[in-house]
């Protein structure tokens, strides 16, 4: 690749970075226009706003010589000009044309540089000309547009972030990953220094020279914390980067399902680690699809039950004590209690639901779906269990609240970042493991008579519920058994599931830097990664979600044995 190629590639990247959000906003505004016109709202302020944005995209596209984008933006501008002049021409068909063009523009901008789109743009231009001709005043409208174009230029709004453009540099996200990795190593080394220092303190006692070292160690810890915050800050993106695609998605889904749906989003500015955002889109799309297709009633049913014909789906995000909460709520029919009960019984899940104190949690169980028929939109045999699994996989939780006849809402709680996880370090048979704090409900001193046995499996009464308490050594397959009895159990939880785990010692809390599992290690069920502790030893990070998924019937230990033998 020549340097000119590189320069063009860099310009093209800049173009996409600037124009993709703009064209997404255009497409969203067209969806909103369609909704307003259909419900008879004038939405007078929207057309001028969208025209301004279109103009910016058109100008940037022309500068890059990206003719298809330029032509589509131009055609959309013409339609907007005409519709501003001719309110009578506003309606289903003109809105559909705008929405289609908006979607096309987003696709073209997203794939800019691939050289495609000439035909799609030409075809769209053809349809716009047909539309303009059909409305009949095509000649005069276009002429006026041409007259006004000079004036337009001044009023075109600037793209977002142009003010700060001088201070913005582009960085490959992989470099930020490397930076985080290096930071992680620094944190491990710091805790090694800290630990060595504490040992030294214990050995030699108070010494004047040591107080300097003490100050340095404490200062270093503060610096590492600050560095962590700064590095994390560089990885954050507003959650609107994921939400941005949803208005059009919901519109298309509603169109196919012949429903009227309004999507209301808020908190789009809430920041999240890009690594999490990348994996959040799919579960959210799944929940949105469910809401449109199953959650909201048909138009007739809504009117019959005294609701507005248009259903509302709310998508809210907010930061809350170091986590991000996302609420997705619809005003549809809610869960069908009878059907859920029947299905839960059929699957033998009834007990699990009762246990958890939330009978609706069963809808996250594998194989659970009450949809009567498979539609082309949802219900492709992929249930909420997959959603719950991916949310859990991100260290998050998902909860459901159903108000029959009034709606269904899901609440997701997610960590801000994946790379550094606050963990409880436990010891079982002289082996140490890290358990993410977000999955530790409580640590309990195990009184001798508190653990009972049912079918040779431990159970205990915890906060009024009987929960299974597994032996840590058995679950983790430790090789040498410590002589002393296990003195503690920790309660691992995820969503509504809980399980106790007997351990020998609780070492303490620590921010651990998550390192992956080498493929040579296979796919252990109970371990999600590794980390390096302060003393330099490697510890496995327990996978709380999958530990909770295992059947209580001794599966963990026998599973491990079988695997060992077959390997």
């Amino acid at each position: 690749m020549t340097s000119e190629d590189n320069a063009f590639k860099a310009l093209l990247d800049d173009y996409i970075v600037e124009c993709l959000p703009l064209s997404e906003r255009i497409a969203d505004q067209f969806v909103e226009l369609e909704r307003c016109w259909r419900s008879g709202e004038p939405a007078d302020e929207l057309l001028p706003a969208v025209k301004g944005t279109l103009h910016t995209v058109k100008g940037n596209s022309a500068m890059m010589g990206l003719t298809p984008m330029q032509d589509v933006a131009h055609a959309l501008e013409d339609v907007c000009v005409l519709l501003t002049r001719e309110p009578d021409a506003r309606g289903e068909s003109s809105a559909a044309l705008l929405v289609e063009g908006g979607g096309l523009l987003v696709d073209l901008v997203r794939t800019a540089g691939a050289g495609d789109g000439v035909e799609a743009a030409a075809a769209f231009g053809q349809r716009v000309r047909g539309f303009l001709a059909q409305v009949g005043r095509n000649g005069s409208a276009a002429a006026e547009h041409a007259d006004r174009r000079k004036g337009d230029r001044r009023s075109a709004p600037r793209g977002p972030g142009t003010e700060a453009a001088g201070n913005v540099v582009r960085v490959d996200f992989r470099q930020l990953d490397t930076l985080l990795e290096v930071l992680g190593e620094g944190m491990i080394e710091h805790s090694a220094v800290n630990e060595a220092y504490r040992r030294l303190m214990r050995r030699v006692g108070e010494l004047e020279e040591l107080s300097d070292l003490d100050r340095a160690v404490v200062a270093l810890e503060k610096t590492m914390k600050r560095m962590e915050a700064v590095v994390m800050g560089t990885r954050l993106l507003p959650i609107s980067t994921v939400f941005g695609r949803f208005p059009r998605l919901v519109r298309d889904l509603a169109h196919t399902a012949q429903k009227r749906v309004r999507l209301v989003t808020s908190g789009g500015e809430t920041p999240m680690d890009k690594a999490i955002l990348d994996r959040l889109s799919e579960p959210l799309i799944h929940l949105l699809t469910n809401a449109v297709v199953h959650g909201l009633e048909s138009r007739e049913d809504r009117v019959r039950s005294g609701k507005p014909e248009e259903g509302v789906i709310e998508l809210r995000a907010a930061s809350h004590s170091g986590r991000v909460m996302i609420v997705l709520a619809d005003d549809g029919r809610g869960l069908d209690e009878a059907k859920i009960q029947a299905k839960a019984e059929a699957l033998g899940l009834e007990a699990a639901g009762v246990d958890s104190g939330n009978r609706h949690a069963v809808i996250f169980a594998p194989g659970f779906s009450t949809a009567e028929q498979v539609s082309s939109l949802a219900g492709r045999g992929v249930g909420l269990d997959v959603v719950a699994r991916s949310i859990h996989g991100l260290g998050g939780t998902i909860e459901v609240v159903s108000r029959p006849g009034q709606g269904l809402s899901f609440t997701l709680s997610l960590p801000l970042t994946l790379a550094i996880v606050r963990s409880l370090i436990i010891e079982v048979d002289r082996e140490r493991f890290a358990v993410p704090i977000s999955h530790v409900a409580e640590t309990v001193r195990a009184e001798a008579d508190a653990i009972h046995e049912i079918n040779r499996r431990g159970v205990t009464l915890w906060r009024g519920d009987l929960i299974h308490v597994a032996d840590g050594g058995e679950l983790l397959g430790t090789t040498e058994r410590a002589d002393s009895p296990r003195r503690f159990y920790i309660v691992i939880s995820s969503g509504a599931k809980r399980r106790g785990l007997m351990v020998d010692r609780l070492i303490g809390h620590q921010d651990v830097v998550v390192k992956g599992l080498d493929p040579a290690l296979g796919h252990p069920d109970v371990v999600s990664g590794t980390t390096i502790l302060g003393d330099g030893r490697v510890a496995c990070i327990l996978d709380a979600v999958r530990i909770l998924d295992q059947r209580a019937a001794g599966a963990p230990s026998t599973g491990a044995t079988e695997r060992r033998m077959s390997a």
Binding site: E431, G477, T479, A520, L521, P524, T530, R537, V538, C540
Partner: protein, 168 residues
């Protein structure tokens, strides 16, 4: 010992082993790191060896395959350590002061091989390599790529990729 140290060491060994006259033109040679498992000597190509380290703490990983001993901290990086003895059908090894981890790098993947002892870095003439007798081989031993008979020694040559199951 880093790879550069290894290569320097190998060169010095090769010089010592060269014929006294020093005039013979050497044929193609294999550059090997050899190590001991029980009473046998095995060899792996030196250009696949990144370094050789003493055995520190190895952390067992629950439910890992039987031929994986665990993971170790290699200067802040997690190194999976393969128990080559069980992979070769021997009993698991007992750690001794002579135990070493041979860190290999193949196509960007870095893995450790736990061996009883590292013996030598040698240059062996290619012509000294023969196939192992058919009678002792089986489909499960396709990681043996040959046997070098050299200076009254017998070095079993391992195909590192196959022995580490890198393609699984």
């Amino acid at each position: 010992m880093t790879r550069d140290d290894l290569l320097r060491f190998a060169d010095s060994v090769a010089k010592d082993a060269a014929p006294a006259a020093g005039t013979a033109v050497p044929g193609p040679e294999l550059h090997l790191v050899t190590f001991a498992l029980d009473r046998e000597e095995f060899g792996v190509p030196v250009d696949q060896v990144r370094e050789i380290i003493r055995v520190g703490e190895i952390t067992r990983v629950p439910q890992a395959p039987a031929h994986v001993r665990g993971v170790a901290n290699l200067r802040g990086r997690i190194l999976a350590v393969v128990e080559i003895r069980t992979r070769l059908g021997l009993t698991p090894g007992v750690l001794s002061p002579r135990s070493r981890i041979i860190v290999v790098e193949i196509e960007g993947r870095v893995l450790g091989i736990l061996v009883d002892a590292v013996l030598q870095v040698v240059k062996v003439p290619v012509e000294a390599v023969t196939a192992a007798p058919d009678e002792v081989l089986s489909p499960q031993t396709d990681y043996i790529s040959g046997v070098a008979r050299w200076n009254s020694r017998l070095i079993i040559l391992l195909d590192v990729e196959k022995v580490l199951l890198l393609n699984d």
